[in-house]
Amino acid sequence: MWEHLPLFPARASTMAGHVDALYFALVAIAAFFTFLVSALILFFAIRYRKGRNPHATQIHGSTALELLWTGIPLAIVMMIFVWSSVIFFMQTRPPKGAMEVYLVGKQWMWKFQHTEGQREINALHVPAGRDVRMIMTSQDVIHSFYVPAFRIKADVLPGRYTTTWFHATTPGHYHLFCAEYCGTQHSGMIGEIVVMDPTEYDKWAASGVDGSLASAGEKSFQHYGCTMCHRADNAGRGPNLTGAFGHTVLLDDGRTVTADESYIRESILNPGAKIVSGFKNIMPTFEGQLSEEEVIGLVAYIKALGNGTANLPLPVSEPNSGAYPVAPKQEGSAAKSDKTTTTPEKGGAAQPAAKP
């Protein structure tokens, strides 16, 4: 019977059961209070109708009752608050080691990039039984990534990254909807999540791919001249990015930030916003030169430098280029170094990329 009148969508993620449990508890509580109030009204209306009770009894009130029907609802909603907050923390805290998928939303399609290199439009293949973290941005207006079967939703914003995560449980095809009105074809921005058996997924991910997302990013890194300043030691004009991702960065004004995807993106597109301590504000901006997909590739590459999965290490300084020796690969970013503010210019070929 429930196929013909379903009350909830398929449960295809680990969160679905939790959300549904709270939902049905709330349905029960709401039904209880609705029936209570309706029944009381019905009963009073009949029992105290004018024909049966011609004279009303004036009652000012009862402080005891007021406290009761303030206190009990308050206690109930506080319990709901705690329960729902627990669920919410689960929904917004992806487990460590989740596999990552990047998403660029635009009017009116979803563009996915797997770290293994697969690119997809509107359909996203993911493995069952694994944590998947989505890192998302928009090319234009606000969209929202909504998979009812997973019980997750997160807005996709221009100019920054937002994230969500899920752990799919059952192979199948599930709706992906855009849930933030975004213009003419908002209701056409429908995709699907294809949950595959894990071994099937691995086969699929490896097939027909030119290279991983990180290697695409590395090509961009070379192409746009990033290696001119960012080297595998502290000799470059810019910080050493090896191992930088995910760690705390000390900025020149004393603040510290975590080098996450948003920080990397901002550093590429608006480098003057945060200057790493010990370095000068000389990095040119690449705003307007890179597509969101290219930025994502660079982010993936820098991440790969952090966990040792990158193909090539960053170039090191020439042996006879100057006074600085080749430093060993450091844990913790180069930002923590006590480099002085004067950086000797390197002669010869190494010039910063021209300002756009």
């Binding site: 020149d252 003057g272 916003a273 200057i275 504000n281 901006t285």
Partner: protein, 223 residues
């Protein structure tokens, strides 16, 4: 009030006496000024949020402001509040000509403010500091020129709204001048002058907040 007494011709029919009428008008004007606080408050909130995020751009933006002109304008407005207070004072004393003089001075000072503001706006236009296609900012610091454009957007929005309120104030002063010339204000009835005075002081007060926030903070900061 009893039927056999003639109501003062300024007493509106729905009030019991002049005192209730005056208290009501004053209360009403104060409630209106609270709505104005909320109105400017939205813009001030936007300013505050962006200042926290784009501090360096805010420094750069505020350093382009002409402090001398802003300071002169501040003095002009404070003087206009003085002349306004005097106008209320003379209205209460029933001295029509002094009232008219003070109202005219207030208006003149108000227009002086607007004139200086126009000079400033023109300067910003010449320096390509007006947001839009003509905007161009040479940046030499830890910020994105776009962020400075946001500073200027809020600068023009906030000072523009303030200037609009000044123009409305000028209109109100004109109305007071005409009514005063017709002898409408007496020692018993001068509430409109006082109410416009409250409005004018409020607009002045908004500028007292705008001036430090847009011109003074970080003006000497070595970004």
């Amino acid at each position: 009030m009893p039927d056999n007494q003639v109501a003062p011709h300024n007493l509106k029919h729905h009030f019991a006496d002049l005192e209730q009428q005056k208290e009501t008008s004053t209360f009403g004007m104060w409630v209106f000024l609270i709505t104005e606080i909320m109105f400017f408050g939205g813009a001030f909130s936007a300013y505050l949020v962006y200042r926290l995020h784009y501090y360096n751009a805010w420094v750069a933006g505020s350093q382009t402001m002409e402090i001398k002109l802003g300071a002169i304008n501040t003095v002009v407005l404070i003087c206009s509040s003085l002349t306004m207070v005097l106008a209320v004072h003379f209205a209460k004393l029933g001295r029509r000509q002094w009232t008219a003089l003070c109202l005219v001075l207030t208006m003149a000072l108000g227009f002086a403010f607007l004139g200086i503001k126009a000079v400033e706006y023109h300067g910003h236009w010449l320096h390509h500091e007006v947001p839009g296609p003509n905007f161009h900012f040479e940046h030499v610091g830890n910020y994105d020129p776009h962020q400075v454009m946001i500073f200027f957007s809020l600068y023009f929005a906030m000072t523009g709204l303030h200037a609009l309120h000044m123009l409305i104030g000028a209109g109100l002063l004109t109305w007071l001048l005409v009514a005063n010339a017709r002898g409408r204000f007496t020692t018993e009835y001068n509430t409109p002058v006082e109410m416009v005075g409250l409005y004018w002081h409020f607009v002045d007060l908004v500028w007292i907040y705008l001036f430090p926030l847009l011109y003074l903070i970080s003006h000497s900061h070595n970004g």
